[in-house]
């Protein structure tokens, strides 16, 4: 039991179980509005430079920041934009 606890702790510290889990991205966005708002701010920055939130550059940012693979980063972006900044392009 102790070993399992240590393993799970290491996963958390090591970023393998980041803020956003694999299959509950929508719930995660709802529970972490501050992070979503921060992402919206970054998306607006991208937009001001003529870069879309759908672009590889923006998705790489989401992927890096949240330690997500590219597909999960796209899904997360869709939820964040839909819930918090629908005017982002």
């Amino acid at each position: 039991m102790k070993k399992i606890f240590i393993f799970l702790t290491l996963l958390q510290i090591g970023g393998l179980n980041p803020l956003y889990g694999q299959s509950n991205l929508l719930e995660s966005v709802k529970k972490n509005p501050n992070n979503a708002i921060e992402m919206c701010k970054k998306f607006r920055e991208f937009n001001s430079k003529g870069i879309s939130a759908n672009s590889d550059e923006a998705l790489n940012y989401v992927s890096r920041k949240n330690k997500l693979n590219p597909i999960n980063a796209e899904i997360l972006s869709i939820y964040v934009i839909g819930l918090h900044c629908p005017n982002v392009i």
Binding site: Q22, S23, L25, L26, I78, G82
Partner: protein, 522 residues
């Protein structure tokens, strides 16, 4: 009739190989601007399945050169596909410009393979004055070979057999040609095709592509020359053409390096184009090769895409809404239409489980990869219990979907490889006509068995206005035969017709993380 004459001649390449061309010229005093097509199917045909005969182009004041590429038709050498074309193209351009009948102006035309031969040349070679690559692309994996990693079974097997039959003809192998033809006419080629190609044309590039895809190796890279992509270019694509993504990619590539290409995405399949296509192309060449009659020819650059339902052209750069749809099911969206919902601006929820039985794969027709491309009524297909159906209510207003539909979904599966095959359809008021207008495919490999993962499936780009009073339907299955091959369930050696070793596969879709979003074309 405008008097036109033709003759055969050849270019001797630096390596000694002779490439044969047929040249059509108007009667009278030249020289004329040249239109060149480099093709592998026989110069006499001159791609007349999609283009007006060279006599018509010559009658409009052009010298037309249709060349048999290396190893095809009457040209010498061995045919090796795309990899051979860069050098031969550059040498041919210099040769054409040097001909006494040519006034030095060179335009390129042709579709499919003939589209690709317009885009490859030796570095630093002089670009053509203008070009019109049609139904083509430069990424072998994405534009010639597969959708979402799923090999284009029907398209590539039938194409490879055509190439193999041409080889039999060239080698005067009567029985080989007959064998291929009989299999095609008896529809046995879908099962026997790969073996026939291996038997009669083992070096066929389709065999190579299928192996590269299966073994996850790197495809050869085709690098179009920047100086060529900046020249006046009319890119032609079609809603029902497998290479449509390639046409859009060419547009993006050209724009990204400062080009200002024209693009037309028509209501056309690979082999069946829209009526005014020839006149449009003629106007393009007249504008860029003759620069005469400036008042008679519209100087407006063509940048348009056909609207499938409204039957009219739209500006391809028009901004459209990036609609998002969510999915809901209580678990029986594959049994009861009422159970599967497709909702705008809502939250997805629920689940559905569908089965892939390789003995009876879900048939696939129409759109860009089916045997008969175009709109397809999938009413009967959607009645199957291995197809999950999600549908909107009657739309309260018109909705235009202009872009690339993307489906994001969570799946767990009991095999190491599985397919997700999705289609979008416009449903009429009585639910009887289900007009499928866009399809997408995804082959998942190295799946961790029974572990849920998120996946993304890209559909064929589309432009359709869903009329008020109709419905939008999303259908999801786990096979699409013969558009793509039947998945064996195994990661390796998975490009074959169905065998008794193919596994029955169960896919569990968690709809919570499932969403369909229409993303812009560019």
């Amino acid at each position: 009739m405008f008097p036109v004459k033709y003759f055969d001649t050849y270019l001797k390449l630096k390596d000694g190989v002779k490439l044969i061309s047929r040249i059509w010229i108007p009667e009278g005093e030249g020289p004329w601007p040249a239109l060149l097509m480099r093709q592998p199917y026989g110069r006499e045909i001159a791609s007349t399945i999609t283009y007006a005969h060279p006599t018509w182009w010559a009658s409009k004041g052009y010298m037309v050169i249709i060349q048999d590429v290396r190893g095809q038709g009457d040209s010498e050498g061995d045919f090796k596909g795309f990899s051979q074309e860069a050098n031969d193209t550059s040498e041919t351009h210099s040769w054409v410009r040097s001909l006494k009948e040519c006034n030095g102006k060179l335009g390129l035309y042709g579709f499919s393979y003939q589209g690709l031969t317009q885009l490859t040349g030796n570095e630093f070679s002089e670009p053509p004055d203008c070009l019109s690559p049609a139904m083509t692309g430069v990424d072998i994996k994405e534009h010639w070979c597969s959708d979402g990693g799923a090999f284009w079974w029907y398209n590539n097997i039938t194409w490879a057999l055509q190439i193999a039959a041409l080889k039999m003809k060239r080698e005067k192998n009567f029985s080989g040609w007959e064998d291929i033809r009989n299999n095609l006419e008896n529809n046995k080629h879908l099962r026997e095709g790969l073996n026939l190609i291996k038997k009669y044309d083992p070096d066929n590039f389709i065999i190579k592509w299928s192996k590269v895809l299966d073994q996850k190796k790197e495809f050869d890279e085709i690098k179009p020359l920047s100086s060529w992509l900046k020249k006046p270019m009319l890119i032609i694509g079609g809603h029902w053409d497998p290479h449509l993504k390639g046409a859009l990619d060419l547009y993006i590539r050209s724009k990204s390096i400062g080009g200002d290409p024209e693009i037309i995405i028509g209501n056309s399949s690979h082999l069946n184009w829209w009526e005014e296509s020839q006149q449009t192309l003629l106007n393009f060449f007249d504008r860029n090769l003759k620069k005469v009659n400036p008042h008679k020819i519209s100087s407006t650059k063509q940048k348009k895409i056909w609207n499938i339902s409204l039957q009219e052209w739209d500006n391809i750069e028009k901004k459209s809404l990036n609609y998002e749809f969510s999915l809901r099911s209580a678990g029986i969206a594959n049994f009861e239409i009422i159970d599967g919902s497709l909702l705008l601006n809502s939250e997805s929820d629920g689940f559905v489980t569908i089965l892939h039985d390789p003995w009876r794969p879900v048939p696939s027709e129409g759109n860009h990869l089916g045997p008969n491309p175009g709109i397809f009524n999938r009413f009967e297909v959607d009645r199957r219990f291995d197809v999950a159906v999600f549908q909107t209510n009657f739309l309260k207003e018109n909705i235009q979907l202009l872009g690339i539909p993307n489906l994001y979904t969570s799946v767990s599966c009991d095999q190491e490889s599985f397919d997700i095959c999705a289609s979008l359809s416009l449903v009429n008021e009585d639910n009887k006509i289900i007009n499928q207008f866009s399809s997408g495919f995804l082959r998942v490999r190295k799946n961790v068995i029974n572990e849920e993962r998120n996946y993304k499936l890209k559909f064929q780009p589309t432009n359709i206005t869903l009329p008020k009073g109709n419905k939008l339907r999303l259908s999801i299955a786990s096979s699409a035969w013969p558009s793509i091959g039947v998945n064996s369930g195994c990661d390796a050696n998975n490009i074959n017709p169905v065998t008794m070793n193919h596994q029955i596969t169960t896919l569990n879709f968690n709809l919570k993380n499932t969403i369909m979003k229409i993303k812009p074309l560019f």
